[in-house]
């Protein structure tokens, strides 16, 4: 079972691996303790002390606060509420269609807004684009990751 030095995994998390190093990582058996290692390395980097329980997606973490609540938080510190609720409900939303879509897709690359629009979700804290949904108008927010955190914790024991 491979185990990787912290430097390698840190480079992975910070986009510092070469294509060959990545290929090596991708072709090996998966290392058993990656979950813990990533949490530890991410924790080192973040500027707040609360313990991260899981990396939810780019920029977002599930964090255990002092009061025992488990919330989604952006690396800038912005909070999105309880992890069992869709974090998108606490984000900024921008619907991109029509001229706004033309601003980044050119000519016929833009989808017909009668069929498909883009819904961009930004962090209210740092204005990072956290997600882009492809949906028709009127579609509920997609709740992408609903964790069985109890089971994840169990496995960590």
């Amino acid at each position: 079972m491979p185990e990787y030095p912290d430097e390698l995994i840190r480079d992975l998390l910070r986009d510092g691996l070469s294509s060959e190093e990545l290929e090596g990582l991708q072709r090996q058996d998966k290392d058993e303790d990656r979950f813990e290692q990533v949490l530890r390395l991410e924790q080192e980097r973040l500027e707040w002390p609360e313990r991260i329980l899981l990396c939810l997606q780019a920029h977002l973490y599930v964090v255990e606060k002092d009061d025992g609540s488990k919330v989604v938080r952006c690396d800038c510190g912005q909070e999105f509420g309880d992890y069992q609720r869709n974090w998108k409900e606490s984000a900024l939303v921008f619907e991109r269609a029509g001229a706004d879509a033309d601003a980044i897709y050119r000519g016929p690359r833009v989808a017909d807004p009668d069929w498909s629009i883009l819904r961009e979700f930004y962090c209210p804290g740092c204005a990072t684009q956290l997600d882009v949904e492809v949906v028709p108008r009127g579609y509920p927010f997609i709740f992408n990751v609903e964790l069985d955190l109890g089971a994840v914790e169990l496995r960590r024991q």
Binding site: M1, S19, Q26, R27, D29
Partner: protein, 715 residues
Amino acid sequence: MTDTLGRTPTLCYIDVGGTFTDAFIVDAEGDYVTGKSPSTHGDMASGFLAAIETACAKWGMEVNDVLPSLQVLGYGSTVVLNAILTRSGRTPGLLTTKGFESILLMERGKQTWVDLDRAARLHPMTHRHNKPIVPRSLVHGVTGRIDCLGREVVPLYEDEVRSGTEALLDGGVDAIVVCFLWSFLNPSHERRTAEIIAEVAQKRGCEVRVVTSVDVSPVIRELPRMNAAILEAYTGDIARGAFRDMQARLEERGFRGELQIMQSTGGLAPAVHVRGVDTVQSGPAGGVIGGRYIGEIYGFNNMITTDVGGTSFDVGVVSGGVLNVNRESSVARMLLGIPMVEILSIGTGGGTIARIEALTHRLEIGPQSAGSDPGPVCYGRGGTEPTVTDADLALGYLDPSYFIGGRIKLDLEAARRAIKERIAEPLGMSVEEAAEGIKTIADAKMRDAISGLIATRGFELSDYHLLAFGGAGPSHMAGYTEGLKLAGIMAFPFSAAFSAFGAAAADYERHYTRAMNVIVPPEASDEVKVELGSQITRVWRELREQGLAQMQREGFDPSVVQFRTLAMIRYGRQLNDLIVDSPVEQLETSTDWDRLIETFEKLYERMYAIAAKYPQAGYEILEVGVVAYTEKIRPKLRAEALGSAKPPDDSLKVPRQAWFGGGWRDVRVFAMTQLRPGNELSGPVIIEDSTTTLVVPPGRRIRLDEYRTMWMEEA
């Protein structure tokens, strides 16, 4: 010139491998001697000469004694392959069909995965594009289109050729590759473009080499054809430069002939005339040619050659006295429209790593290899994962103090420890059982490669003799031939240098092909056949003339040049054709046609299945070819009188224990060089020389014939 013993070395072949350079020298009597020296990639000539030196020292001669009398000096070169692998070639630019400028970035998709193993192929996250040899900025498009029938749809826009050439010359290229769609059917645009480039260069007062795809690889499929042309522009000058230097160094030491280079198709060609791209697979062809030659000596038409090296197991096939040729090869993940001797290579050699797959606890061999650095655990150079060689050692097959003649001391304990910790314990086995498991699976992979290659070509194993060589070939031959119904199994005393021997037996050979568009509908009348036949006859004649002229330029007497006549035939609209050795040299009558088609039908039926035939679809010939060749002096195997079955006393070495079929056995050990024709040895027995170890398990025996060829038979 003769030495003190009266020897006249006449033939020498040098095979430069990744790790070692092998020399094989033959004298006028057909006696031979082999030598080995580390390869020196920075200064190829040093390793080259050192290998000759170690060989001729065995005859008490020096390099300067050997070179002057040589009539043939052949060279299996890795110059071109190295230039490709290390991306250290020239800077070519590319003019291609307008609209196709990104072809080298697109790579047809296939080049992102073509040489990967099964798991990686199915795991797209591991796929990667190659860095293109010609960057996008040095690619320019030219308007002009030829269609699939060779018709001009859009004429060549010559002003774009000029502006493109100017731009490339401004960009500092030292060669320009020209590759247009369908140029192999109608080369007029490529030829005209070459002329214009020359004009532009002349006007600018500079020189630039032009390489047209139709001249390098006149076959369908633009990417492989373009790759071939690019590699020629990228490496051709470098290769010829290196060969010239080599020639000069050799002449300093008294060599008076012309250095000959082994080509990927298995023929030699003079160094000054050879194309770089034809020498990509220069080395490995030798073993297969050797197999063909051995077959000729014994009167066998069908041979399988098996070469077990440090990192790979290479299988070649000779059928009906002809080398199998692969026309869709790939090198360093580049598809290449250049014919090469077909060699199936799997990643199972002495240095291949054994490991337990994490999830299923399955014992896996390879494809990872410890190579020669760090090498197997027992080399004691830092390897930690057990390899096939470690298993061979743990089983007692190898003598720790006599590996490569004692030059590498093997660490038996380290090998055992690695097998114990990483394989035996997780599987709940003893070290010996685990080691035997490693060997069994490695042998099975090799066996599957042999039977797979033969089956997919539609051949019957029982028609073939198998030849085992390479450093680790004789150690594993019993294992990888087990259960295969072969006509015979042979090994040679000079196994480790067999590729060099084989290459020394090569002919001078040149391959020529031309694209055609001959479609024979199922209902074709005799008149139509005669008309179509005359087209083919004309091209065959032209190719023969081309071959003859080339051979003459290279100094051969036209009367000794011989030809093979080829037609690549398929059923109507099939995409795969078979290379048919035509029984006729011209297609003048419908009877000639029928003989050619009959040859194709027989071959097809043998390759596939009766149900696969489809004469109702008619036939197509989209390519024809000619092979021009002349024979040359070859190493001779000298027959000796057969003696008694009992080996001479001085051949017996210290016996040892080796593990066979679940238990330790006392095993006699013999010195290979001391065995005599007629000797017979029943397994379990081990036969060693300084470069290889032949393992004969219980139930098998070895018999030496008059050439000292060791035949492995059922006891």
